[in-house]
């Protein structure tokens, strides 16, 4: 189960690498008040601040290099008043990490949902044997060293048997957890 999951994630992320767009990873973000507000032009309608982003090297990330060329016509020589109002910040990010992480998250959720659907719908049909008696919740770490018939059976049988055995053990544990929490309310209330 886990191995398959990892494999699928790998293929999915490879596919995503091929088809992805490229977004820039650096920006210089400047936030300035509207020139109208600074210069007190009562006729200008928009007084809300604005933000400009540009792709410039870090040492050029300031009002003079980023903002002034764009609003020079509105300011008309009053740069000394306008620029101190601006906040410029150089920022970087890594879109590749974001892309990979988000795709992995989507894949994991989808896999879990599919597996949950399998357990709810198909699994009861496949093995109809009703487990009337609930078995004692055993120590998960012992299982390897405790030996016993189940372990030997797993070693002798093929991989499928072992996986089934592990799955059964896990299901027992989850059932026990569910009893504790949802039925008996002894924990995590």
């Amino acid at each position: 189960m886990e191995f398959r999951l990892v494999l699928l994630i790998l293929t999915a992320s490879c596919a995503a690498f091929v088809s992805g767009h490229s977004y820039e990873d650096n920006r210089c973000k400047c936030v300035c008040p509207s020139p109208a507000a600074v210069l007190n032009n009562t006729d200008a309608a928009d007084r809300s601040p604005f933000m400009k982003s540009a792709n410039v090297p870090p040492n050029k990330c300031n009002c003079e290099n980023v903002i002034l060329p764009r609003v020079a016509d509105q300011i008309k020589g009053r740069e000394q008043e306008f620029c101190p109002r601006c906040e410029c910040k150089y920022e970087n990010r890594n879109t590749t990490i974001i892309k990979v992480v988000v795709i992995i998250v989507i894949w994991v959720i989808m896999l879990l949902v599919v597996y949950m659907g399998f357990l709810i719908c198909l699994d009861p049909l496949i093995n109809k044997r009703a487990k009337a008696s609930y078995q004692e919740h055993t120590n998960e770490d012992d299982e390897g060293s405790l030996g016993g018939p189940s372990q030997q059976l797993g070693a002798r049988g093929n991989v499928l048997n072992r996986v089934t055995h592990q799955q059964d053990k896990w299901k027992r544990q989850v059932r026990e957890q569910r009893r504790n929490i949802y039925d008996r309310h002894t924990m995590l209330n």
Binding site: I98, Y182, H185
Partner: protein
């Protein structure tokens, strides 16, 4: 042992000692109840002479339990399975008593009996598999585990000279603790990065999508947009759902579509989260901190820190945070880090196979969890020390420090928010505060304490109601209903609609150019260059924002009460911070307007008379947030450190301390317990709080089991058969049995655990020939007579010959202290040197509850 007088030689029933307590001690009569009247004398007879002789032979100080890990220095020349035979003294003529008296030095058998290396940690195979581990819902024995580790360590040190390989193994053993916490730190950082990125993307999915790169959230989508206005925060690349459907961006139709999408997405996320938790890992629900506290205090919950819990907690956390429920990801982050610590500790047998040592790694992991949750490494270490850990030696402190450092570094290099910090709501402050402001800060502390008390009481009431009523039978439905109500109420109010972390960021922030929210709608004059951001009259936007914030405060408080405890991963750091930040911001705006309107009054001592701003509402929000969080969790030191690491300003330590202290006082006065302790009590976890004091006058004899008229189940050291032992195991449910010289004398020899006994007998039946029901089981004593067939079963290796004992007149204060400080699992009670009863941790917890007039049956588990 000989110094106890033996009254007569006629054997009497060992149960006569039960008559010691005629009246059954209660707290009121305390010590005085047990005057030395005639009846109080214990009338126990020493058993057969043989037994007495045996007890002489058996040195009480020899380390029975720890011989489990003793071994011969020589390599075994015997066949592979012959070493098992060694432990169950076969008829080879080995003198077990002599071996026992070999003290702690490795035993060198004088003859050719096979020696074996039986180190659980080193060779990977125990003599009897499973010894040294615990069953589900059991308490660990710190003393025993730490002694086991010491023995193992001594062995490795001794072995070091033998070969280069052993030297390498010793070196590996020495640094494995650091390597383990390094790995835990790295993994915690990575997982935290995944959660941050995933949750921020999925949260924005409720509002719209970035069609060109669907994996980007709104902020990242508009990252390189050259021209963004602040009206909507939207850019051309980011499409809201009405736009995706081809409609307009604005207008009533768009609003309704957005509303519907918001609700539907929230329901989908919450349903997924709740059903994944229910299906795969029910232990992944809740915040996890009460359970981590209990586990760290020495309790076993199997599967609570397992693989599936980890996966489901991570995925479920992303989903439930994105669903817009009033919850945070910080508390579960501690649980996730502890899961990682537990899983990774299995790579290092030193920690994986020793529950007490494993808890050192878990403490470090908890520190890493807080470190990544708040970007506060030192705060994380202090949180681990102050709030969650139980046993915290200095060595663990350094490891926690290292672990927190690594985790913070990794998360910082992932840079999940693109703001060079590991939390979204990092703010940088460098404004001075004036002395007068301490008064509103303390006031905020009081408000915070009140809000916190309301929250704790209401939440505990609701959780108790859920526990005992039919509501608890519909966990998924409950999640869906809470989500639906939250989403329907939250959307219209912009302050509840936005992500809670963003709300906190907004409230913490000071009003500047870049802040166009109504909360910063001041009548500012931008024309004057020289004054940076001067104080100004609040505009209509601010007053509207205050009303919305008040509504948001009420809504968040109510919703968090109903949310904390539903069956999805949910923490309460963020909601508490938000509650406090809202209250603080409102108070801050009030004080600011006071300073603006009356700058000259004596309160401000002239500091506000200039145009400069002297009051920063954002700082009030921060102090308020600290106050509520402090009231809810009752943290003090770690909280202040976390808060100043969040803001990067050491300058505000005094305000934060004042608020945290005031909040803790108010909280303690109004309600005794913090939220985590209250939840521990609600669930009845066996957590013996080291903060509480035991102030009653009861004695050990009042608490011990068995009570009057019951017999104490004991095992004799060398006269019971396998059948007898198995009958005893079947008929009683105790988790351990004292071993006595004989039933008549009740002289204590040692203590044996039920689990070990079961395992050892099962193992002997499997591996040894000739074990029948009639085989005599020998724990200690003279073995010379047992050479004739059928061979006896030697179980001296599972016997703890150094159990902690107290006398029956020991005050419970002392006993409780011993349980706390030594981390005992049980202690044996003796009278005149003879065994009288047992006190387990559960008995102590029950007694404490009884003394506090609480229901003693609420303590669960073994």
């Amino acid at each position: 042992m000989e110094r106890f007088p033996l009254k007569s030689s006629t054997p009497k029933m060992g149960t006569t000692y039960q008559s010691v307590y005629k009246k059954g001690g209660t707290a009121s009569n305390g010590r005085g109840a047990h005057s030395t009247s005639e009846d109080d004398m214990v009338d126990i007879t020493a058993g057969l002479n043989q037994a007495a002789g045996a007890s002489v032979n058996t040195t009480p100080t020899s380390h029975g339990t720890f011989q489990l890990y003793e071994h011969s220095g020589r390599n075994s020349t015997a066949s592979a399975n012959s070493y098992i035979a060694q432990y169950f003294s076969s008829s080879a003529g080995m003198d077990a008593v002599e071996l026992e008296q070999g003290d702690t030095e490795p035993l060198v058998a004088a003859d050719d009996v096979g020696d074996a290396v039986i180190f659980s940690g080193m060779s990977g195979d125990d003599d009897i598999p499973g010894i040294g581990q615990y069953d589900d819902f059991h308490t660990i024995d710190w003393q025993r585990d730490i002694a086991r580790d010491r023995m193992r360590h001594r062995y490795i040190v001794k072995k070091r000279q033998d070969s280069l390989w052993d030297l390498i193994k010793a070196a590996h053993d020495a640094w494995s603790g650091w390597v383990c916490v390094l790995l835990v730190g790295v993994c915690t950082g990575i997982v935290a990065g995944v959660i941050d990125i995933g949750a921020s993307w999925m949260t924005d999915l409720k509002f719209g999508i970035c069609p060109q790169a669907f994996w980007l959230n709104r902020e990242q989508c508009c990252w390189s947009d050259t021209d963004t206005t602040f009206d909507t925060g939207n850019c051309s690349q980011w499409l809201t759902w009405p736009q995706v459907l081809g409609g307009a961006r604005e207008g009533p139709g768009a609003y309704i579509i957005s509303y519907l999408f918001y609700i539907v997405w929230a329901l989908v996320f919450a349903a997924l989260s709740a059903s994944l938790v229910r299906m795969f890992a029910p232990y992944a629900c809740g915040s996890g901190i009460p359970e981590i506290k209990t586990i760290l205090s020495g309790f076993i919950i199997r599967g609570y820190l397992g693989k599936w819990t980890l996966i489901i907690k991570v995925v479920g956390l992303i989903l439930s945070v994105s669903s817009g429920l009033s919850l945070g990801k910080e508390g579960p982050m501690v649980h996730i880090a502890s899961c990682l610590g537990n899983i990774l500790s299995y790579l290092f047998p030193k920690y994986g196979r020793n529950e007490a040592k494993k808890r050192e790694i878990l403490s470090a992991a908890a520190a890493a969890g807080v470190s990544v949750a708040f970007g506060a490494p030192i705060g994380g270490v202090l949180f681990s020390l102050e709030e969650v850990s139980y046993y915290f030696p200095l060595k663990t402190l350094w490891r926690s420090f290292f672990c927190a450092l690594i985790a913070a570094f990794i998360l910082r290099s992932i840079n999940p928010f693109g703001n060079e910090h590991s939390v979204l709501f990092f703010v940088e402050y460098n404004k001075p505060w004036i002395f007068f402001e301490l008064i509103p800060f303390v006031g905020l502390g009081i408000i915070g304490g009140c809000i916190a008390t309301i929250f704790i009481k209401a939440n505990i009431y609701w959780c108790r109601y859920r526990k005992y009523s039919k509501l608890g039978q519909y966990p998924v439905t409950e999640v869906l209903v809470v989500t639906l109500v939250t989403a329907v109420i939250a959307y219209p109010n912009p302050y509840t609609r936005m992500n809670t972390s963003e709300l906190i960021y907004l409230l913490f922030n000071q009003c500047g150019i870049s802040n166009s929210d109504p909360v910063c709608d001041y009548n500012r004059n931008f024309t004057d260059v020289n004054s940076a951001i001067e104080k100004a009259a609040a505009g209509p936007g601010v007053y509207r924002a205050i009303w919305l914030l008040v509504l948001a405060l009420v809504l968040k408080l109510v919703m968090t009460i109903f949310t904390f405890g539903i069956k999805v991963p949910c923490g309460l750091f963020i909601p508490s911070l938000a509650l406090g930040a809202i209250a603080g911001r409102i108070v801050g705006i009030g004080v600011e307007q006071l300073a603006y309107n009356y700058p000259k009054i004596w309160l401000f001592s002239g500091e506000c008379s200039t145009g400069d701003d002297c009051i920063t509402p954002g700082l009030y929000a921060m102090v308020g947030a600290a106050a509520v969080l402090g009231g809810v969790t009752r943290m003090t030191v770690s909280l202040v450190v976390i808060m100043f690491e969040l803001t990067g300003g050491v300058r505000y330590i005094v305000p934060l301390m004042a608020a945290a202290m005031a909040s803790k006082w108010v909280g303690d006065a109004l309600g005794r317990q913090g939220i985590y302790d209250a939840h521990i009590a609600l669930n009845g976890y066996p957590f013996l709080d080291s903060k509480d004091e035991f102030q009653h006058t009861s004695l050990a004899a009042d608490v011990m089991q068995p009570k009057r008229n019951e017999t104490l189940a004991v095992i004799t050291q060398d006269s019971m058969t396998v059948d007898d032992v198995e009958t005893l195991l079947k008929e009683t449910e105790h988790n351990g049995y004292p071993v006595v010289v004989s039933k008549e004398s009740q002289y204590l020899v040692g203590f044996v655990l039920r689990r070990d006994l079961n395992l050892a007998i099962a193992n002997a039946r499997r591996t040894l020939e000739g074990i029948t029901g009639q085989t005599v089981v020998i724990f200690a004593g003279n073995t010379h007579q047992q050479l004739a067939p059928p061979p006896s079963l030697m179980l001296n290796r599972i016997l703890d010959m150094a159990p902690i004992t107290v006398t029956d007149q020991t005050p419970m204060e002392t006993v409780v202290d011993m349980f706390r400080k030594l981390g005992l699992r049980q202690t044996l009670v003796t009278h005149n040197g003879r065994l009288l009863g047992v006190i387990t941790k559960k008995d102590v917890l029950r007694h404490v509850k009884q003394m506090d007039n609480e229901d003693p049956s609420s303590v669960l588990f073994n």
